[in-house]
């Protein structure tokens, strides 16, 4: 009843290609996270401190990013913009889609972080003669950073895994590359099994280094 013969050799032969694709996965995920943190921070601050158009723009971003499928967001930057004649490369589609999505989630993490630092910390800082910016950058943000540190790690893992959606817009990252080889050799199970192990290893490394970094960064 179970007469499937495993053939690992083709997978092993294309392992270098898979690993190269894995580095592309990591690259796009890291970039999306860096941009996502910057945009997420701006969105959170806009939602906390601003009114009017900017507030509504930020709110719409967060709502759409969190409440629609990530795949649809990728499709928007691919086929959606494509319909209007704006054709992004597969790399840019994935980067834009992931950034949009991560920024939305991170914005809410940051917003929670800012709310968790008491207003009185700013008062105490200002009473010492600090400017609002000094109070924010030296007192508030370091505390927010600790609060959002683990959610950021989570989001980083999510970004790596979510980048696999790239294969549906023609991006040859790890999943796309795997799909490419799998359909050429029909060793579908073997290819995706190995790729799953690679994803697992990447995520494990991220989690471990995050934990090591946390031990160094947060002594209190």
């Amino acid at each position: 009843m179970f007469d499937y013969n495993f053939h690992w050799r083709p997978v092993m032969k294309s392992l270098p290609d898979l690993l190269e694709a894995a580095s592309l996965t990591l690259q796009v995920a890291v970039l999306a996270m860096v941009l996502g943190i910057v945009f997420g921070l701006c969105l959170a601050l806009a939602r906390l401190h601003l009114r009017g158009t900017v507030y509504w723009f930020a709110t719409a971003w967060v709502e759409l990013a969190r409440n629609t499928p990530a795949l649809f967001q990728l499709f928007f930057f691919g086929f959606g913009l494509g319909a209007f004649g704006l054709h992004l490369s597969p790399y840019l589609i994935v980067l834009a889609g992931l950034t949009f999505n991560c920024a939305g989630y991170l914005a809410e993490n940051f917003r929670g972080g800012f709310k968790a630092v008491p207003e009185t910390q700013i008062r105490a800082s200002r009473s010492l003669g600090m400017t609002p910016w000094q109070a924010y950058s030296r007192v508030v943000i370091p505390q927010v950073f600790r609060i959002v540190y683990h959610p950021i790690t989570n989001q980083m893992v999510w970004a790596v895994l979510m980048s696999s959606l790239g294969m549906l817009v023609g991006f040859r990252e790890l999943s796309g590359e795997t799909q490419f080889f799998a359909s050429r050799t029909f060793r579908i199970f073997e290819y995706f099994a190995v790729t799953a192990v690679i994803y697992y290893a990447i995520v494990k490394v991220i989690l471990l280094s995050s934990r090591l970094m946390a031990a160094r960064l947060f002594r209190y």
Binding site: R126, L128, V139, Q143
Partner: protein, 240 residues
């Protein structure tokens, strides 16, 4: 000299301070007493500009605190403030808590700032706790840390906003002792307080606030022994 003229403060429709006139001379220790909600804490916040005012004026050594052109960050270096909820910075060690403002506000070098910080922590009896995070300090120690942090800016005035109200009873003494020490050294202090013993023993003058009005001000002996206002007598009778 801190000089307050016809100060009015509203929170929305609520009239919190109703025309306060008050001068505090260099070297003076003034205690401000009164029931919660009488406007005493708000007065302190108006003095260092953490709260805006709606009418009147506050001047510190001739500088109008609330004028548009005033460099409030510079002025606040003269006005140390200690809060009821000490507000130590949890992400910094005791030493870093105290060294931060001298470094980034006054532009001292890192080494210089740390030296100042160590000296001030020694001063308030925390010389052994330099590298400890506030989370590992008791409330009384955190409040002394807050005092050291304010002192590190070399202020000319210290504003204490119910510095002992949030402390466990057995920790009140160490903070009051530190405040006494400062008073003995000649620091100009305005202390909003519920510690009547401190107000009586340490202050040069005591002001009694009632519903946003400064009902009475005078030497402790007069306020505690021979108060003119009915409200003052009632308040003191209830406190004791």
């Amino acid at each position: 000299m801190i000089s307050i003229r016809d100060l009015h403060k509203y929170f929305g429709a609520l009239h919190v301070l109703k025309g306060i006139d008050l001068d505090v001379q260099k070297g003076e220790v003034l205690s401000v007493i009164g029931a919660s909600g009488s406007g005493k804490s708000t007065l302190l916040y108006c003095i260092n500009g953490l709260e805006a005012i709606q009418d009147g004026a506050v001047t510190v050594d001739g500088t109008d605190v609330h004028a548009k052109g005033t460099d409030i960050n510079k002025l606040r270096q003269k006005l140390g403030m200690v809060f009821q909820q000490w507000n130590s910075f949890p992400h910094l060690t005791a030493l870093e808590n105290v060294a931060l403002a001298p470094r980034i506000v006054k532009g001292k070098s890192k080494a210089e700032a740390r030296e100042i910080a160590a000296k001030q922590l020694q001063h308030v009896g925390l010389g052994e706790k330099l590298d400890v995070y506030p989370g590992a300090l008791s409330g009384g120690q955190q409040q002394r840390l807050a005092i050291a942090r304010a002192l590190a800016m070399e202020p000319e005035y210290m504003l204490f906003d119910e510095a002992t109200s949030a402390l466990d009873p057995e920790l009140v003494g160490e903070v009051l002792d530190t405040m006494r020490l400062l008073a003995d050294e000649g620091m100009t202090m305005i202390c909003v307080t519920h510690e009547m013993g401190f107000a009586r023993d340490v202050s040069d003058r005591v002001a009694f606030f009632h519903q946003g009005v400064m009902e009475e001000i005078g030497p402790p002996a007069q306020i505690f022994g021979d108060a003119r206002s009915e409200h003052t007598r009632k308040f003191l009778a209830n406190v004791r």
